[in-house]
Each structure stands twice: as C-alpha cells, then as structure tokens.
C-alpha cells in the first residue's frame, strides 16, 4: 500500500466520521426540539395589564392609526394567513362589525404580516378597513404567544380585560353581548 493510498484512506475515514457526527448531531437536535418545554412560550397577557399606546398603519389606506383609544373598549383580533383555523373563524367577523356601530366598542384586526399577504387573506373590504399592520415588537406585546385566531379585550383605559382564542367561552360571551346590545338598540329605535 502506497503512502497516497494510506493517506486517502485516512481522509476518507475521518470525513465519514465527521459526516456521521453531523448526522447524529442534527438527529439529536431534532429530537430535543420535540421535547416538551424546549420552546419556552412567553406568558400570556395577564388580566389587568395596562397596555402602552400602540399604533400601526391601516391596511386599507396606510394611515397611522391607534390600536386602542382612550374612551372606547377595543377587541383586538389576531389572525394569521398561515393558520388553517383562521380562515373559518374569519367568516364570523363581518357580522360582528355590523353590530358594533354606536355602542362604544371597536374591533381591530392586528397583524404583523405583510400588508399585501394580509389583504389577500382577508378578501373582504370591510375587514381590511378595520385592520392594522403593526411592527413585530408591538405585535409581540399584544400577542406574546403568537396564537391565532386570538382575541384581546382592552377596556377604555387600555387595561387588558381578557385574552384567549376566538371561539372560547369569553369570546362567545362577547358575541352574545354585542348581539343583545344590537337587539336592544333596534327595539328602542
């Protein structure tokens, strides 16, 4: 066996060992990532948290707009175009928008996605009109766990009243209240 053959054999063995090491490392990393607790989720917004005044660009006209305003309660809704459940839940929102007129409640859809993608995802002018694109840090303040479809109820002083997933108990209660209020208004009129 010549020196060259020995040397190439050695390089071959070393490179194969390196490849094996890399393969095992990536497999181990994949397994570790699947362990519960690997990804540390930040805590959800606690009830009573006072939110700072946040603003973003309206998805329809790109004008600067406040996420919540002093004096009116706001329901902030978070949808993501990538989440399969969101499309189905999105259909529930336009009827709610028609119920909020004149009762001091605002509904805002807040996103951190690109305006173009989000507009295409919403596919409804009324929803687009009520949507705000905020920066990623601002979005994380509103939705630290990046859940969707999620809601955040903010009172007239910027205090968090409740947060959760659209469709849960609090959400259903909110929808019922809006409906009840609209019924009362109709009967008075």
């Amino acid at each position: 066996m010549t020196d060259i053959q020995m040397l190439s054999g050695l390089v071959c063995i070393l490179a194969l060992l390196l490849a094996l090491n890399l393969k095992l490392t990536f497999t181990l990393y994949k397994k570790v990532k699947q362990l519960p607790g690997f990804v540390h989720l930040p805590d959800a917004l606690a009830e009573g948290t006072i939110l700072p005044q946040l603003s973003g660009k309206n998805v329809l006209n790109a004008k600067l707009e406040l996420v919540w305003r002093q004096g009116s309660a706001t329901a902030v809704l978070m949808f993501a175009s990538r989440c399969p459940k969101c499309k189905a839940k999105l259909a529930e929102i336009p009827p709610l928008l028609s119920l909020i007129d004149g009762n001091g409640v605002e509904i805002k859809l807040v996103t951190n996605e690109s305006v173009r993608h989000f507009r295409r995802f919403l596919a409804d002018d009324k929803l687009v009109e009520h949507s705000i694109k905020v920066s990623q840090p601002d979005y994380l303040q509103l939705n630290p766990q990046q859940m969707s479809p999620a809601y955040l109820f903010i009172d007239h002083q910027g205090q968090v009243e409740a947060s959760g997933l659209i469709g849960d108990e609090n959400w259903t209660l909110f929808c019922d209240q809006l409906q009840m209020f609209a019924n009362v208004q109709q009967s008075v009129a």
């Binding site: 054999g9 071959c12 890399l22 990393y29």
Partner: protein, 172 residues
Amino acid sequence: MELLLSICRYSTALLFLLAAISKILKFKSFRRNLSESFNIPNSLSTLCALVIAVIELSLALWLLTLSGSAKFAMLLALLLMVVFSMVLAAIYWLKGPLRCNCFGEQHRTFSVADLARNLLIMCGISLYLIAPEVQFQPVMFMPLLAVALALTLVLIHLHETIELLSVRSEYD
C-alpha cells in the same frame, strides 16, 4: 482546484440523492405538501411527486457514476435548481410563507437559510461549469465522496446549523 470542483460535483450528486431518498421515504407528506403549498390538484400530486423524486434520483446516480466530463449533467442540475427556486419564489410572492419539504422537513416553512443553501448549491454548480475540465486519480474518489457527504449534510441542515449556533450564543 480539482479537489474543489470534484467536491462540488459529488456534493451536488449527494444533495439530489438525499433529497430523492427523503421524498421517497416521506412520500405521503411530500405529496400532500405539493397540494397544500403549491396548489397542485390531488389527482396530479402523486404523479408530480413521483416525477420530481425520479428526476432527482436519476440525476444523482448519473453524476455519481458518470466517468469523465459531467458538465452536461451539472448543467441539468443547475437548470433543475433554478426551476425549483423560481417556483418557490413565485409561490412565496403569491401566497406568502410556504413549506418546501425539499429534504423531508415537514414542520417548518422555507427559510432564509434554505434560500442561502440553494444559492450556495447554484454557485457550486456554476463554478464547476465555468472551470476547465479536471481529472483526478481514482484513488481520491472515496475520500472526495466522504468529504462531499459531510459538506452536503451541513448544506441540507443549514437552517438547523444556524439555529444551533444562535441557541448557543444565547447561553454564552
């Protein structure tokens, strides 16, 4: 230079080989992803997935077993990479973030690291194509293949490599 060019050729071959194997092993998931992310109708997705896997496998075996010049095979590999990247870019532009399933990664979307990987592969192939033809001793075949395998694994897992490096820096 001849070592580098040979590593480019074998890395490209191994990349296509491993991509084809992962697609065949996770065929159902790859087929479903073609329907979900690339809007290919269910009736066509099986055929499409099969065609992609077979093309990748054939090209890989051709590059590995071909004696002499591999310029034509490398040119086909470059064309394939350009087509794949353009399709990914078009879908990203039209629909937003998407899953690629290029090497069997089912649970994450196509990332900047994946884009960098594709660009690196295309650069390697282009380098091979523009360089003059090289000949190397048969004794070097196995070591070059082994080095190319190590490099290929890093390229395939470039996203995870970057993640691992950034995870480590958090605890430093």
